[in-house]
């Protein structure tokens, strides 16, 4: 089991109020939700080095562009476990304000878990360069690949991470992604709103700010 950190600023961003300082009441709600979340979470992850051409994971244009120049890649998945879903469900019945804070806190936690996995992969590949994490659902990269990602990693058996008929990851606070490995330094420009599938509907952009993607 790994330890997870929660980036509170990120959790607050999901809760609207861009740039707003949380008041005392809000801070104590955040404290108590973070504590409950850390108690419920069982963070788990898997990753595996693959040959891109043999993987069957290249569908659509965007992932191809993303992995341009890479022969090898890492597939990874991570989850906070199903108990997190349960505490969020329970809070939705008894205290919706708490539920949205738990939900955002959990979203921030799964992101930092992924950062940790990426750091670990990075340490194993000190001489190479990694692209950022690209997930099914980004751009034209189909969500229907979730099952393939999970099967490659044996994720249902090893960490209890599955996909539903409509390709939602279950438990809900989970991520799958692919990272290209390159021998040469990668251009940094690729990340940002221009490649984001949500750019048209993004609530951050509407509010005149950005997420840190």
């Amino acid at each position: 089991m790994v330890e997870i950190k929660i980036n509170r600023e990120e959790a607050l961003r999901y809760l609207g109020g861009s740039g707003l300082e949380p008041d005392e009441k809000m801070l104590s709600l955040l404290d108590s939700c973070e504590k409950e979340l850390l108690g419920a979470a069982s963070p788990m992850f898997l990753y595996k080095r693959i040959d891109i051409n043999e993987s069957g994971l290249i569908l659509g244009e965007d992932v191809g562009n993303h992995l341009e120049g890479c022969k090898l890649a890492y597939v990874m998945c991570a989850t906070l476990g199903s108990a997190v879903d349960k505490i969020i469900r329970a809070a939705q019945v008894s205290d919706m304000a708490r539920a949205v804070v738990l939900d955002s806190t959990a979203s921030a936690a799964i992101e930092s878990l992924c950062d940790e996995v990426e750091a670990q992969i990075s340490r194993e590949n000190e001489c190479s360069f990694l692209t950022w994490r690209f997930s099914p659902g980004y751009g034209d990269y189909p969500l229907s690949l979730q099952e393939k990602f999970l099967a490659l990693l044996d994720a249902p058996r090893k960490i209890g991470l599955c996909s539903s008929d409509s390709f939602l990851l279950t438990p809900a606070k989970s991520v799958t992604a692919i990272l290209g490995v390159s021998e040469k330094p990668l251009e940094k420009k690729r990340r940002g709103c221009a490649v984001c599938a949500l750019s048209k509907t993004c609530k951050f952009r509407k509010a005149g700010t950005r997420c840190e993607f």
Partner: protein, 786 residues
């Protein structure tokens, strides 16, 4: 030779890994192992052969993932793959070993974490079991969800007469991925009538050792153990425990007692089985001492009836207007909130009764049990007078519940006890029969004895029958109290059964009922009562119980008592600052203050005046602040919930003065078919509720037809649909199309929202309104209803 003959031996030697051996034989990346049964039967047979050569007495077929979901792209049917696998095993095992049909988890999560229903899981397993009809027995292995395994066990019991071995996979923290505890697995599976149970995979024998030990404490059945060959190296996929070390660890595990079926899981090979055989050849089986009282459980939590345990009585419509309304309006959230508040107050078990003449009790019971189990951990007591309701709930209940109830009438005994036996539940036995409630303790004792005897006859352990000696109203029959207590005491001592009692009836018709209730509770506890059925939100009752546990030397060193009451004197009474206005209380999300201020204002202000000049403007301002980024979402929700409290006060006041309750309009909300993320929809619901709209919440993953039917039935003018994923936008479109072509819904408008939606897309799929956030859904409702 059959499985029962094998069970007479000290130990049964199983096989090792199949997957590991297939990889060694050159399984290609992405190749589906089950297809080798047909494409390369010789490889599969050679694996069985190698294990049998080492003394394996039961070989498992190469069918771990051979279900319709996982095999959908394999090019073969389940029937083809499974029957070929059984033939391969049989060809090698004939006369030397038995053949076990291996069944693993489906590969999708069940509700509520995933979308697979109990019935779907059952059908997948049934297909495998029918296809494997030529096997000798069935092994369920590597399960992490107890309810999924229950679906499998029931499918096996109902579609074959074969012996069943059920094994789950635990992590180092002693729980499965789904949170299932060892105690819950053992209690539930033993109750369902499997022939052996245990644990396999995930860890090596050393790490599994404490988990196996825990199993032997909770079950009287033979225990099954198949560890991995240690832990895998993530890069090389090799395991770190060698055969001799594996066998040494297994030797220690076998010494716990009760362990009878032994083999290996991932990473183990015939070498491990050979080493294991050397160990068991030198040992004799013995049974571990069973150290548990009768217990009930959910999937995560077992409650041992070793001391008084509280059954919460609040989930019951009898005499509760608001609860009846909730049932009629399908307001499941209200029921869940009742459950959570009882658990927070200290209930150990919750009674669940949803009987109301106007509703389909069977369907409602199933819905409520599923919903309750998705948010609370305590075990449930299924309360109905109808056997068909009991059975439907028993099927889908995750864990080992209590059935409430059976009584001494022949009709009840013959209808209820077989269900209790089949699903492995405990049962409440009411001491009444065709002739009513006997007046005397002796009469009630005789009925208790009759119920216990009948239970024993059909194979229910008498310890799992909890006798209710029935509370009579003391103001009507004053001598009755002594009879109840005397019967309770005899049942405890002479039948060795636990007892339960609904307590509060005792004081009906008297003033200061609370006082009589908690003294009666104390008397009953002293007479041996284990399961008081009470309102856990009643402090006097819970206080009496906590004090009793101190005085009866149950709460050691008064730890729980002190924890509960040490700080209570410091709690300050609520003081409202004289300068605080209702508007400020709502903005600040101060519920208690807002409630008191509303009550104060009602003394000299008209109710609707408060609504229109204070509540609604305050909500509007908070909403506008949120839109401008001056508030966080939880602050908006807290304000809305505070306004809700004020509305409740006003509604009560209006009800007193006979004014009609105000609803501004009825709105359906649903998360579309295929989508199980519903937090966005639930936020919208809170806001609409608080603005005075009546929300018919159809939940998540909702069939278009259900939305249309409900809209017609309840004459709905506005439907709100939510979808979170691009993959479920199609369902949103389908739902809208169905509404549009339904006669009678011409005046029905549709608003849509969700993370991936845009205004353009909403228009394209035919929605009337696009709502960017929860606040806009309120604006839309205002436009529609004026």
């Amino acid at each position: 030779m059959n499985f029962n003959d094998l069970l007479k031996n000290d130990f049964i030697l199983l096989d090792g890994a199949t997957g590991t051996m297939l990889q060694k034989s050159g399984l290609r990346l992405g190749e589906i192992p089950e297809t080798l049964n047909i494409t390369r039967p010789e490889v599969v047979r050679s694996i069985h052969r190698a294990y049998i050569a080492e003394g394996t007495q039961i070989v498992t077929t190469n069918t771990f993932g051979a279900n319709r979901y996982k095999m959908k792209d394999s090019g073969y049917s389940v029937e083809e793959l499974v029957s070929a696998a059984v033939r391969n095993a049989r060809a090698e095992a004939e006369g030397k070993a038995l053949v076990a049909l291996e069944i693993g988890p489906v590969g999708q999560l069940m509700e509520p974490s995933g979308s697979m229903s109990f019935e779907q899981a059952y059908d997948y397993f049934k297909e495998q079991i029918l296809a494997g009809k030529d096997a000798d027995l069935i092994f369920f292995e590597t399960f992490t969800d107890l309810l999924e395994l229950k679906a499998g066990v029931l499918a096996a019991k109902e579609n074959s007469g074969k012996p069943i071995v059920a094994s789950m996979t635990f992590e180092k923290n002693g729980r499965t991925f789904a949170g299932v505890s060892v105690a819950s697995a053992a209690l539930t599976l033993e109750g369902l009538g499997v022939d052996a149970l245990g644990v396999n995979c995930s860890l090596g024998p050393r790490e599994l050792s404490p988990i196996v030990r825990e199993f032997t404490r909770w079950t009287a059945l033979p225990v099954f153990v198949k560890p991995n060959a240690g832990l895998p190296d993530p890069n090389s996929n090799t395991y770190n425990v060698l055969p001799d070390e594996f066998a040494d660890c297994m030797s220690e595990i076998i010494d716990f007692g009760s362990v009878k079926l032994v083999g290996g899981c991932c990473g183990t090979t015939p070498d491990y089985i050979r080493a294991l055989k050397r160990v068991i050849d030198k040992k004799a089986f013995r049974r571990a001492e069973l150290r548990r009282e009768t217990s009930v459980c959910s999937a995560t939590t077992a409650v041992e009836l070793s001391e008084p345990r509280v059954i919460g009585e609040r989930i019951n419509p009898t005499g509760k207007k608001r609860f009846k309304e909730a049932l009629l309006n399908n307001d499941i959230d209200y029921i869940l909130a009742q459950a959570i508040s009882q658990v927070n107050a200290g209930a150990d078990i919750l009674d669940v009764n949803v009987g109301l003449p106007q509703i389909d009790e069977r369907e409602m019971m199933v819905r409520v049990i599923k919903a309750l189990q998705s948010v609370v951990d305590v075990p449930l007591q299924i309360d109905s007078t109808k056997p068909e309701v009991l059975e439907a709930a028993l099927r889908i209940y995750n864990g080992r519940p209590i059935v409430n109830s059976v009584n001494g009438e022949e009709k009840s005994l013959s209808a209820v006890l077989p269900l209790v036996k089949k699903y492995g539940a405990s049962v409440i036995g009411l001491t009444l029969d065709e002739n009513g409630i006997p007046k005397t303790a002796d009469g009630r004792f005789e009925i208790a004895k009759k119920i216990v005897d009948r239970a024993k006859q059909i194979g229910i352990d008498p310890k799992d029958v909890y006798i209710d000696c029935l509370t009579l109203t003391v103001s009507a029959e004053q001598e009755g109290c002594a009879e109840t207590l005397s019967a309770l005491s005899r049942v405890t001592k002479e039948l060795g059964c636990k007892t339960c009692l609904g307590v509060s009836n005792i004081s009906f018709g008297l003033p200061n009922r609370e006082l009589v209730n908690h003294i009666f509770l104390t008397m009953a506890l002293h007479s041996g009562l284990t399961l008081p059925i009470i309102n856990p939100n009643d402090d006097a009752m819970m206080g009496a119980l906590r004090a009793y546990k101190v005085l009866a030397n149950i709460d050691k060193n008064s730890v729980n008592y002190i924890e509960k009451y040490n700080d209570s004197e410091k709690e300050k009474p609520k003081v409202i600052s004289s300068r605080l206005t209702l508007d400020q209380a709502i903005t600040g999300g101060l519920k208690g203050e807002a409630e008191a201020l509303t009550e104060r204002m009602l003394q000299n202000t008209d109710a609707m005046e408060i609504v229109n000049s204070v509540l609604i403007p305050a909500l509007d301002r908070v909403g506008a602040d949120f839109e401008k980024g001056r508030l966080f979402l939880p602050q908006l929700i807290q304000s809305a919930n505070t306004a809700q409290v004020c509305f409740e006060v006003i509604k009560k006041n209006l009800a007193k003065t006979d004014s009609a309750p105000v609803s501004k309009g009825k709105i359906i909300l649903a998360t579309v078919k295929g989508d199980i993320h519903d937090i966005g929809k639930n936020i919208v619901k809170v806001l609409l509720d608080n603005y005075g709209y009546t929300v018919v919440d159809l939940g998540r993953d909702v069939e278009p037809q259900l939305i249309v039917d409900t809209a017609l039935e309840q004459n709905i003018r506005l439907i709100g649909l939510s979808a979170l994923m691009t993959t479920t936008l199609g369902s949103m479109e389908d739902t809208i199309a169905l509404v549009r072509k339904t006669e009678g819904l011409e005046n029905c408008e549709i608003m849509v929202g969700g993370a991936v939606l845009t205004a353009d897309y909403a228009e394209k799929i035919g929605a009337d309104y696009y709502c960017r956030d929860a606040k806009e859904s309120v604006d839309t409702a205002k436009r529609v209803f004026g």
